[in-house]
Symmetry: C2
Subunit: 269 residues, 2 copies
């Protein structure tokens, strides 16, 4: 089994419930079903959003959400994170007070799962980012990464109805988060990167979900040069990836894959 | 082939593009990739939301979105729908002016795909709804419905990275919509129901996507008593379905299925 630094929350009994199901033969079974609970995020005294989440890592989720929405730029701005389990509330406090009223009025609902909401000006935030061009990944490394991720015991394998996102080095997966929406999972990774100040120049981002424009934008915002998925992709996602020289690979299954952008980082070994 | 009244937009060349992809052997292929374009929705002079969509049936999408968000209650309130293809804008005009400023401030981002945003008070809107208890569906009908839907040529089969929603009678699928997010697809169906004033008491709703709380709430809001999916489900979705006596069946594949709620409408024939 792979040595993940953070593994799927499989042993967290709070993220799923046992529910009664009747199968096609009338047989009653007790099956594990994923939780989906509201978590309301405050930035100082400003209510930002209520997200539906499995409920693990609320602090990373909160930080990552604010970061990906452009409401927070560095962990040094944060003075405190308060998670109130009983209230389903997480509060992020910053040194300087903020006001996102205006931004909150103009939201873009994107095609992502959960939290599929970015502000209209998010794209402008990635315009200046230049991704590391010196990293490469081989076909064998991709096959091996996929295998390690897919073989890892996960909520997906146990409970289903969930997406996973994994932050990896080219030859090994490091942090594996899951959530009902793939955007919660990616925001947890963004929160981790922010809090631990992880240098992502040589890292790889793997998601079980589809590669839509928002997923590509978030990957670029986290300055990760390689984006992988076992699922499909949209035309706009490809266009943004090409513009920013992101290596974007979709439909990765076994040995098969589709390189949609940034093929210069891929080596056929 | 099934006689759908509305079929997937497979012959609409605007909903996908041909993109270059390189496979694992370095071979360049031209593959069809789904579009994902912004569509900004106005209710009278109020900007409501920008959605990412494949772009077909913008009028149904607009109507259904407003209906599912509780901003519109009957088609008779609507005086005009204007779709400006060049601007990616759709405007719904109503007899009486509306103001949703306050509601817009308090949004809940749910675990759905795309448009995964409901207002916090949405649940209260379904509290009084009573679903028709006199309809039933047999195991054979479910197998046959699934088969017809899965065999139908669709954007999913051709392009991938897309969800489908189908409004059916117990023994035949009627209207089949697809979109990048499953919530756009369900909103198109809601728009159709609203505009055509369809009585849904004896109808069935099939989705390729997961059964999350929001999907269940939308199904109940459309007063459809049976909800089917080939995918998984969340604990909260089951709880809401049980409370409202919705028949909810997940992981429908071939002969297999999981009945999570409302088993009284299922007959094992």
């Amino acid at each position: 089994m792979t040595e993940f630094l953070i593994k799927p929350s499989l042993n967290n009994k709070k993220v799923y419930k046992i529910k009664k199901s009747i199968n096609e033969n009338g047989k009653v079974e007790n099956i594990p079903v994923i939780e989906e609970k509201p978590l309301t995020l405050y930035l100082n005294n400003q209510e930002i959003v209520t997200m539906m989440t499995i409920g693990d890592y609320p602090e990373y989720l909160a930080l990552g959400y604010l970061y990906n929405q452009g409401m927070l730029h560095a962990y040094s701005e944060v003075t405190k994170i308060e998670y109130h389990n009983d209230l389903n509330v997480v509060v992020v406090r910053t040194k300087n007070k903020t006001n996102y009223e205006k931004k909150l009025k103009k939201k873009v609902n994107t095609s992502g799962c959960a939290q599929g909401t970015v502000f209209g000006d998010l794209y402008s935030e990635i315009e200046k980012i230049k991704l590391n061009k010196k990293i490469s990944i081989s076909h064998q490394q991709l096959i091996s990464l996929s295998k390690k991720i897919n073989m890892e015991p996960s909520l997906y394998l146990k409970v289903g109805a969930i997406h996973g996102c994994v932050l990896c080095e080219v030859d090994k997966p490091l942090y594996y988060f899951e959530d009902v929406g793939r955007h919660n999972a990616v925001d947890k990774i963004a929160g981790l990167i922010l809090q631990k100040n992880i240098n992502t120049d040589n890292l790889v981002f793997y998601t079980t979900g589809r590669l839509t424009s928002e997923m590509v934008i978030k990957c670029i915002k986290m300055q990760i040069p390689i984006l992988l998925s076992r699922s499909g992709f949209t035309a706009w996602a490809i266009e943004i990836a090409k513009k920013k020289n992101l290596t974007m690979i979709g439909r990765m299954k076994g040995k098969r894959l589709n390189i949609l952008s940034g093929e210069f980082r891929f080596t056929n070994e």
